[in-house]
């Protein structure tokens, strides 16, 4: 690990100022040469591996009193960005009213990690592509822009079939973001030039020709809260995660589903996919295909097929086309059996 300056954030307003002196400094690996530290379960790993080399680390855990609580109201759910994954996952009201959120967290990582990691940090976790995480591989456009992509013709069983580019096929590895996508969450962001609120769908950037730029956050911007609007679909929601082993593994394919049924007819449905795409992924065409129809094997299969139109498999991840579709079908049919 390279030596770095360690700061503790005193307030939401002052935290971004730690980035001030560095504003002019060129972006290292697409990120500011300073990083916020929350639970550290992504950041410290990558610093030890020399993948991330921030000159300055700003510890935001002192801001927990401001950004560490959960509020639930008729309008929806508000989660502080510093809420621990385990706290949100175990919250009775979240489990009851927003099961897809609770499940996406419970099925992620391990108990130890969930006790450390925060919701804000979770959204910004970085890909598990092995070629990215090990600096001895010279070709990785995400780590070292312009160097190539070792995964394209290397091992890509874990990699994305949706939203990838010729420059990077890395998968967005997280689970929780899919649930937020399905529920149309928004993020509150504090930054050097004021605050703003953005839809979760605009947080992550597809790799395109700049895979090293992963989000739309400007240097110094701090996620402070996540808001999930209430809706008739939140209770009939679930997160289905498919993996090689029963626990403690990233998704091979996953689906976050939120469903609003009127009798047997689909009034509204949200389908977000994980494990298969370069960014948290909404399957909007698939959703549209179901509106006004009954949810059954045939309609679910047709929707699932639609969700994977345009998928671009490589040598080792072709199975994800089939697996992803089956995951969607299973998740949809399972959601239909839930109480609304």
């Amino acid at each position: 690990m390279r030596p770095f300056l360690y700061d503790r954030a005193a307030s939401t307003e002052s935290a971004p100022r730690a980035f001030d002196g560095l504003k002019e400094a060129s972006l290292i690996q697409g990120r500011a040469p300073a990083e916020y530290l929350a639970g550290g379960t992504t950041l410290l790993d990558l610093m030890k591996l020399d993948v991330m080399q921030p000159a300055r680390v700003v510890d935001i855990t002192p801001l927990e009193p401001q950004h560490g609580s959960i509020a639930i109201s008729d309008a929806g759910l508000r989660l502080g960005a510093l809420v621990k994954m385990s706290t949100a996952a175990d919250h009775p009201a979240v489990i009851k009213t927003y099961p897809v959120l609770a499940q996406s967290l419970t099925l992620a990582a391990s108990a130890q990690l969930r006790n450390m990691a925060t919701l804000g940090g979770n959204l910004l976790q970085r890909t598990r592509c092995n070629y990215f995480r090990d600096t001895s591989w010279s070709a990785c456009n995400k780590r070292n822009p312009g160097s190539g992509c070792a995964a394209l013709d290397g091992l890509n069983r874990q990699h994305a079939i949706l939203g990838a580019s010729q420059d990077c096929i890395a998968t967005y590895p997280g689970d929780f973001a899919q649930a937020l996508m399905a529920l149309d969450a928004t993020l509150d962001i504090a930054g050097p030039s004021g605050s703003r609120t953005i839809p979760i769908a605009t947080l992550h950037k597809p790799p395109g020709s700049t895979p090293h730029i992963e989000t739309t956050l400007a240097p110094g911007e701090l996620i402070t809260a996540l808001s999930i609007p209430a809706g008739p679909w939140t209770r009939r929601s679930l997160y289905l995660k498919i993996r090689d082993r029963q626990s403690y593994e990233f998704a091979l394919a996953s689906a976050a589903i939120a469903l609003h049924l009127d009798g047997d007819t689909v009034k509204d449905v949200r389908i977000a996919l994980g494990g298969v795409a370069s960014v948290p992924w909404r399957a909007r065409d698939a959703e549209a295909s179901l509106i006004g129809k009954p949810l059954n094997e045939a309609t679910a299969t047709a929707a699932a097929r639609m969700a994977f139109v345009g998928s671009a498999p490589r040598t080792h991840n072709a199975y994800k086309v089939t697996l992803g579709q089956k995951t969607v079908v299973r998740a949809l049919l399972q959601a239909a059996t839930l109480e609304g």
């Binding site: 690990m1 092995n130 090990d134 591989w137 070792a150 498919i242």
Partner: protein
Amino acid sequence: MVDAAAPAPKANMGDPVPRYDARAKVTGSALYASDVALPDVAYAFLLSSAIAKGRIKSFDLREARALPGVLDILTHENIGEAIRKVKFFTEGGPASNSILPLGSAEIAYGGQTIAVVLANTYEVARDAAHRVKVDYEVDRPTATFESPGAVDQELATQNKKHDDPKVGDFAAAYATAPVKIDVAYSTPAQHHNPIELFATQCGWNGSQLTVHEPSQNVYGLKNGLATQLGIEPSQVRVVSPFIGGAFGSKGALTQRTALVAIAARKLGRPVKLVPTREQGFTVATYRAETKHRIKLGATRDGKLQALSHDGFEVTSRPDPYAVAGTDASTRMYACPNITSNVTIVRADRSTPGFMRAPAETPYFFALESAMDELAVALAMDPVELRRLNDTMKEPIKSLPYTSRTLMPCFDQASEAFGWSKRNPQPGSMRDGDWLIGWGCATSAYPTQMAPATARVSLFPDGTARVEAASHEIGNGIYTVAGQTAAERLGVPVGKVQVLMGDTDLPPAPVSGGSISTASVCSAVAQACDAIRAKLGDNGTGAVPTVDLVATLKERGLGSVQEYAEWMPHGAAKGGMQMLYKGAAQPIGGAKLPDRIQFAFGAQFVEVRVHARTREIRVPRIVGAFASGRIMNTRTAHSQYMGGMIWGIGSALHEKTEIDANAARYVNTNLADYLVPVNADVVDVQVIMVPEEDTLVNPLGIKGIGEIGIVGTSAAIANAIYHATGQRLRDLPLRIDSLVEAA
């Protein structure tokens, strides 16, 4: 309450005495190699090659050296002639590969150690290593089977000791067999990944070197290192009282030890190395990927007429490592016509090495899957197929098994499992959305031993001491050696002190090949019997006929101490001297001229495969094993169960991914190299079937450390076939292939 971890002993089984080292381990007072605090220690960090083939043109060490706290950086350019060559183990040497550490600019495999950074702290050493710039000349490497540049060689031409088992006329018998199968299987590269990393600490006191390193062969390490450093073995002491998992990975002399010793000599202070988890994939050895082609021919009623097993194994360019499991796989069942062949395939890879049941794990996946396929072809129950071909003589040379309790294992495990309720039709059993499949397979492991010594002392206060440089790799050797002495000397087990894992103690053989308990306990018993004889006990039973402590006191002696050298059946004459050099070879199994010695078992597995998404889970597994005398049902249970759990991982999860272009390992961490987690291990039942074998050794002990993993993967594959009708022949058995075909 019944304690499943400490089953009540049945016939010919010892008490489930708690582990000798349990308290030390759970309280943290057991010091592992990296826990030992040496004064003024410096830290080493390895730099590993980023290419698999080529050479180092130059290093740029400037930035690394400039970091405050960096003491030195060893490379092939500056280490000089410090390290002498030792032999690879197939040539009778202790080395895990025959590449000289930092011996030249040549790169033979990805991850090869190319520099050692030395610094005042671990953090600085690691940071500096990241700042070393290496300019390589890169050659196109060969990754694995069928990669460009792979060279196939018949093992028999590369290893004079290998002889492909054959009998009768396979071709003719196979041609005319009414029922036959011809199938191919493969198994992946796998790494041991013991929890404890491959730590080494070295400190010099004048010309005396002390090495703290987890080792399955402290005498081998001592002697090999002395040769490498050009010093006398008496100048080297290796200390390794606890090993945090080894599974074969800590049995050989790896390149790192000499480098740390030299670094410590150069710096004039102790040096500590703890390679990272990633580096563990190339610092030590691994299980190489294998391929198999099996042909079985049988009569219509299921009698085997022809068996052919061809094995293919990847190895490195310099070393002809092979596990050659055909030695066992051709001898399991009665069959008059057998042929076999082993081919090694050279690639630009690190040299493989022993990993739990090295030969049997891959070769029995193939054999026991093929037996299941034959049972399907015969429309026969797979248990009955094994019963029909059970034999008390191995078929190659017609040598008798010293004991073989295979079918009682099948019967007891099948009964406990409920096999009789199985509907043989694939896809016929279901629980909601989950397809259920039941499968079974044979487990077997050669009973081997090696020369061993022990020193036992009895004191007038009723205590005793056992000294033998064996290795506590989790096998419970402290405990069973102490139990042996307690029983034979008539003292409580709590009064026996056991000292192990130190070359200042009398030598014990490598703790591999499941030989430790049989070898070491035999030596301990022999020393105890000498004490008994000295104190006037002429009995030959396990327990003394006179009160030895009382006699000792009566005679006014301060202590009685006996040292014993024990030689197993079939050991070469010079075996004891080889033991002192750390080079005693295990003998037994199918390698004896007059008989064959194996332990047997049977495993039954239930799998659940999701009808739609096809995840594979193993909710239930039952194994029954018969392995001669069981010294301690608690430690034995743990060994069997651990083997079976590893079998689940080996079947479903474990695979070292190799980049085909770079010939390098890719998933070198425990988030991506999957092993089972608790949630994957639901119900594991171990049944110990009593067996008495008076031939293998006087105590009647067979090895049990490895058999538990053998056959598990086949049982799981067979169960998946039963659940789905799909036959998976390539490990790991993954959702990828199931979901595509579903």
